[in-house]
Amino acid sequence: MAELTYREAVARGIAQEMARDPSVYFIGEDVAAAGGVFKTTVGLLDRFGPARVRDTPISEQAIVGAIMGAAMNGLRPIAEIMFSDFFAVCWDLIANQIAKTRYMTDGQVALPLVIRTANGGGVRFGAQHSQSVEGWAMAVPGLKVVVPSTPADAVGLIAAAIRDPDPVIVIEPKALYPTKADVPDGEIVDRLGSARVVREGGDATIVALGAMVPTAVEAADRLEAEGVSAEVIDVRSLVPLDTAAILDSVSRTGRLVTVEESPRLCGWGAEVASIVADERFFDLDGPIVRVTTPHIPLPAADALEDLAIPSADAVVAGARRALG
């Protein structure tokens, strides 16, 4: 067991798989010599050499296109898109090409590739470097989407993503990069499509993702002081989505709150709410409540950004509404 930061865990997950499989390659802007602008890939160049860990030009279409072509011809490549906001400049390759090619070719083409990206707010970067774009990726058939919220999950989900035979988007909440936690020694390989109950409770189910998981846990602690026992589920994987874990919990608690960093419209919580309303309507004892960022671009000023992103207070207030 070793205490690692989230950023160190990212490098460990990549290194674990590169050491195991020589067909795993890693490219991106400033990922090699500089070790990544978020220092998530420190040491990989030294360990695996300049052929397998390679800096690219600022050419997101070329980066994403290159890993797609490489995956079609025998590699298991990983690309880093420095900020998830930059998905917008290579979205054709992600949404039109990578996501659809297996289906359009009726299974002739497999694309075992991973796109990692730093996502979300909390670091005062303003509207073009702070977005939560997990909903963009989730909305396109053909992409798997995972969001690790702890260092151990970062290792295990990155490893699982690399071993998966399909394209996986690994979304890393940049606000979590400095956070630390114990990570078990040895090989860690997680499973895509599995949520985790991070705090048990019987009165309400709070479903959270990424950087909102610690916020939800903090809210649950406060609710405990008020005599409300809230269960917190870390969704971890949007596609595939572990609906069974969520539905089972709601069946027991009768209350559902989703906590989403993304803007209001079409967030993943809306899909969860829809599924629960459809399949557990008669188990519900109160309204489904979504706690989200308002439907605005994120502001840069710390005072404004803190107002925008859901706080533990906002989650507590949401839970009270759900409890009626």
Partner: protein, 336 residues
Amino acid sequence: MARTDESRTKDADLTTKVAMYRMMQEARLFERRVQDLFLEGIVKGTTHLALGQEAVGAGFAAAMQPGDLVYCTYRGHVHTLLRGAPMDALMAELMGKATGICGGKGGSMHLTDVSHGAMGSYAIVGAHLPIAAGAAWAAQERGTGQVVVCFFGDGTTNIGAFHEALNLAAVWRLPVVFVCENNLYMEYTPIGEVTAVANPASDRAPAYGLQGVVVDGNDPDRVYATAREAIDRSRAGGGPALVEAKTYRQSGHSRADPGTYRPEEEVRTWLGRDPLPMYRARLAAEGVDEATLAEIDAEAAAAVDRATESAKAAPLPDAGSLQTQVWSDGGSAWRN
């Protein structure tokens, strides 16, 4: 291009020339049949025909080796066919049949036959250039000796992915040959009206440290020699190449387009340079007897007839195939 002793050795021999004529004739008759079937309502959706551009595909197809990979565009029937994809499965795909090369899920703009190295027809302009570069990167790293040939139209030279891909391919010295089929029109607009340079591809080559190469795209012999030089050089580790083949699209951009914006004189001139009759006459002059050429013509026509009949007779896709092959497990499940 300057002719050198080395390039002369890359000229097509007579066997290759006859093979290219057969390819061009099959491509021509296939495209004409697709046009007819579309008018009959049997081929649906849209089609982007390569009538008039067959020599580019034939010249490169003849110059490629078995493991080489082709990436092409929505105007991709011919390149996919000439890479070796079975004609009946291509025709069935255009008719939306279960026996189609992509089970009916691809259609005219997405023909793919991985087993023959036809790695896909890409319908978003420019997207496949970086993908082709990536396939070449894998070939380079794995030491497979493959060369990737990537076809695209003149309109592609003004989209960002073209420039990103050329730069990356040049910086990484990738074994990829980019082939611009300059048919003078970006959809409905003359390419010259919207492009800063006269030769939209080759004039950009120096910006990426590459030699600009222009070839007569209606002459399969010139295309073949140019292709051999570019492909062989790339295979030997010489890095990427960018070839611009001047040709002409005899029909409109797509089925919706009669092509009336083109000056009559221009159309007449280019129809006078139709690669099929020109090449047939050249082969006859070089000693290929009429009986051989006539036999090729008849066999190509028969192949197209057979493909048409087998595709017409083929079953429609089963409803059970609708939600398959999103994922590698064969299914499309997104939840448990």
